[in-house]
C-alpha cells in the first residue's frame, strides 16, 4: 500500500530581503487507491509542492515520507531509484526526448529499468486508450500538443509506479481528452491501487478526484 505523507512542510527560497516562503506548514497524505487534486492559481506553489513530494527538492522544514521512508534520509542515488521504481512523474507537454520516437520513449525506460514495467499488451492497451496507438513511430515534433501530453502520461504510467505525481497533465488537452485522462487516472487509482496526486488549475478534473485540495499563498487546505 503506497502512501505519501508531507508533515509540516515549509519551503523558503532566498534570504533576507529576497526571502520568499512558497509553502507554509503543509500537511498532506494520500494512500493507494486515491486520486488527490491540488488546485491553485499560477504561483501558488503547486509545482514546488510536487517536486518536494517527489524528492526532487528538499523542504526547508518538515518531513516527506513515502511508504514510511523519510526522503531526507535517502542518498541522491536512492532517491533516483525511488523515482525510477516507485514514482511516475507526468510533466507538462514538450518534456519528451525529442530524438526518440514514441515507441523509443518506452524503450528508454526498459534500458534503465528492465523489470516491473507494463507488458507489451498492457502498453498497447494504454496507448489505444489514450488514442496515441497510431503515432508510435513518430517523433515528438510530429505530434500535436495534446498527443505529446498523452505520450508523457503513457510514459509515466509505463514504469508502473505506485505513486503518480502529475504536473498540469491536461494543460494541452481539449475537454473530451480531459475526460479520457481524468477517467484513466481515476481508474488507475481505483483498479490498480495507485496513489495519484495531480497539481493543476484545470477545474475540469475536479469530478474525478477523491480529495480536492486548495493551495493558496503556500497554504494547503482540504476542501470539505
Amino acid at each position: 500500500m503506497a502512501t505519501l505523507t508531507l508533515e509540516h512542510v515549509d519551503k523558503v527560497f532566498g534570504q533576507k530581503t529576497s526571502r520568499v516562503q512558497v509553502l507554509t506548514d503543509v500537511n498532506f497524505e494520500t494512500t493507494a487507491g486515491e486520486l488527490s487534486l491540488v488546485l491553485g492559481p499560477s504561483g501558488a506553489g503547486k509545482s514546488t509542492f510536487l517536486t518536494i513530494a517527489g524528492g526532487l527538492q528538499t523542504p526547508s522544514q518538515g518531513n516527506v515520507q513515502i511508504d514510511g521512508q523519510a526522503l531526507g534520509q535517502l542518498s541522491a542515488h536512492d532517491r533516483d531509484q525511488l523515482r525510477l521504481n516507485r514514482i511516475g512523474f507526468i510533466l507538462q507537454a514538450h518534456n519528451l526526448v525529442p530524438y526518440l520516437t514514441v515507441k523509443d520513449q518506452f524503450r528508454l525506460v526498459d534500458k534503465v529499468k528492465p523489470k516491473g514495467n507494463l507488458s507489451a499488451a498492457d502498453l498497447t492497451k494504454l496507448l489505444a486508450n489514450l488514442g496515441i496507438d497510431k503515432v508510435v513511430n513518430q517523433y515528438p515534433a510530429e505530434l500535436s500538443g495534446g498527443q505529446s501530453q498523452r505520450v508523457a502520461i503513457a510514459r509515466a504510467l509505463y514504469q508502473n509506479p505506485a505513486i503518480i505525481l502529475a504536473d498540469e497533465p491536461t494543460a494541452a488537452l481539449d475537454s473530451e481528452r480531459v475526460k479520457v485522462v481524468g477517467a484513466l487516472l481515476q481508474r488507475l487509482a481505483r483498479e490498480q491501487n495507485k496513489a495519484i496526486v495531480v497539481v493543476t488549475h484545470d477545474l475540469r478534473l475536479r469530478d474525478f478526484a477523491d480529495h480536492v485540495y486548495q493551495l493558496m499563498d503556500g497554504h494547503l487546505t482540504l476542501e470539505s
Binding site: 509545482s47 517536486t51 526532487l56 533516483d80 512523474f89 530524438y99 510514459r155
Partner: protein
C-alpha cells in the same frame, strides 16, 4: 549507447557536421604525420636498410658523412669484422640523355662487405666493376632503366645502371650504390683515402685515432636539416592536437548544453546520472571513431592519389599513436561537460 545512437540517427545533419569536423582534423593530423614520417624516412631509409648500430667517422668531421674521410693508413690499423663495412659518400647529380637530372647520394661500397652483400635488388644484379651502379627505384620512376648509361657530375666516365633497389634514400636524396673505386673518382680523392665512414651492425667503439664512433641515432640526428624538420613537424602535430582538443571539447560542451533540458526531464524520472554520462561519453566515442575511420580512409585515398615523389609514409605505431591521441582527445572533450550533467537540476523543467 541507446540514446547516443538514436540521437545521431535523428540529428543527421548536426552530427554529420561534427563527424565531418573530426574527419578533417584527423585527416590533417594523419597527412601531416605521414608526411613527417615519410620525410624522416627519406633521410634514413638507406641507413635503416643496413640494420646498422654505429657509424664511425673522422672525429673532426662534425658528425657529417660528407665531411669525413678515412685514410688507408688509418684503415690499415683496423681489422673489420663481417658486421662492419666501409662506405664512401659523395653528393652527385645523375644525368642521362633525354632524362631528368637527379641529385643523388653516391655510396661506394666494398662488394665483400655486409652492405653490398645484403643489398636487395628489385631488378638487375649487383655492381661487379667500377663502372656499374645500382640505384634507388625512385630513379626508375623518373625514367631510368637497367642498362642506361649515366654520368655522375661532370666526370666523363659513363656508369651503367645494372640494378635497382628499394628504400635507398639518404638525406632525402636517392642513393646510387657503386664501388669504393668509383667513389674515389667522384669525390676526387687520392687512392690513399679508404672511405668516408665505417658502418657497423654491432655496437662498440673504435678507439683508433682519428676516428670516433657514433650511435646511428646520434649520426642521423646530425644529418643536415633532419632534427629541425622533425621538430617542426612535431610542433605542428602537437599544436594541431591541442587545437583538436579545444574544438572537439567546445562542440561537445555546446551539444551537452543544448540537451540539458532533456536530461533534466530524464533525471526527474529517475534516470541515473551515470546512464546519461555514459551516453555522453559513448556518443563522443562514436563521433570520434567515425571521424577517425573516415579520416583514415580519406588519407589512404590521398596517399594513392599523390604523386610518387611526395614523401608520405605510415607505420602501425605511428598510426596507432595518432589515432589513440585523437581518441583520448575526444574522451577528454566529452568529460568536460560531465559536471553539467551531474549538476543538472530536474526542478528546472517542472518550474516553481
Amino acid at each position: 549507447m541507446f540514446l547516443a545512437l538514436k540521437e545521431i540517427r535523428h540529428e543527421k545533419l548536426r552530427y554529420g557536421l561534427i563527424i565531418g569536423m573530426i574527419l578533417l582534423i584527423s585527416y590533417l593530423v594523419y597527412v601531416l604525420s605521414g608526411l613527417a614520417y615519410g620525410l624522416a624516412q627519406q633521410n634514413t631509409q638507406a641507413i635503416d636498410s643496413w640494420d646498422a648500430q654505429t657509424v664511425t667517422l673522422d672525429r673532426d668531421a662534425n658528425v657529417s658523412l660528407s665531411q669525413s674521410l678515412i685514410t688507408t693508413a688509418t684503415a690499415n690499423k683496423l681489422t673489420l669484422t663481417k658486421h662492419q663495412a666501409y662506405v664512401g659518400q659523395a653528393g652527385v647529380v645523375a644525368k642521362a640523355k633525354g632524362k631528368t637530372n637527379v641529385s643523388t647520394q653516391f655510396l661506394g661500397l666494398d662488394k665483400t662487405q655486409f652492405i653490398a652483400k645484403n643489398l636487395k635488388l628489385t631488378t638487375g644484379h649487383k655492381p661487379t666493376t667500377n663502372r656499374q651502379v645500382v640505384a634507388d627505384t625512385s630513379l626508375q620512376n623518373q625514367g631510368y632503366r637497367v642498362g642506361d648509361h649515366i654520368t655522375l657530375n661532370s666526370i666523363n666516365t659513363k656508369f651503367t645502371i645494372v640494378g635497382f633497389t628499394k628504400n635507398a634514400k639518404l638525406n632525402v636524396a636517392p642513393v646510387v650504390y657503386g664501388t669504393l673505386g668509383a667513389w674515389r673518382t667522384l669525390r676526387g680523392v687520392a687512392p690513399t683515402m679508404q672511405a668516408s665512414a665505417i658502418v657497423s651492425q654491432k655496437s662498440g667503439k673504435t678507439t683508433t685515432s682519428p676516428l670516433k664512433t657514433y650511435s646511428v641515432q646520434a649520426f642521423v640526428n646530425e644529418l643536415p636539416g633532419y632534427s629541425a624538420q622533425n621538430t617542426t613537424f612535431g610542433f605542428m602535430i602537437g599544436f594541431l592536437m591541442i587545437i583538436a582538443v579545444v574544438v572537439i571539447a567546445v562542440f561537445l560542451y555546446i551539444l551537452t548544453m543544448q540537451k540539458l533540458p532533456n536530461y533534466a526531464v530524464l533525471r526527474a524520472q529517475g534516470i541515473p546520472a551515470r546512464f546519461l554520462v555514459g551516453n555522453t561519453i559513448s556518443q563522443a566515442l562514436v563521433l570520434v571513431v567515425s571521424g577517425l575511420v573516415l579520416g583514415a580512409l580519406l588519407t589512404f585515398a590521398t596517399m594513392r592519389a599523390l604523386p610518387l615523389g611526395v614523401p608520405i609514409s605510415f607505420n602501425l605505431p605511428l598510426l596507432g599513436g595518432v589515432t589513440l591521441g585523437i581518441l583520448l582527445t575526444g574522451v577528454l572533450g566529452a568529460l568536460i561537460p560531465v559536471r553539467l550533467i551531474l549538476k543538472v537540476n530536474p526542478v528546472t523543467v517542472i518550474g516553481g
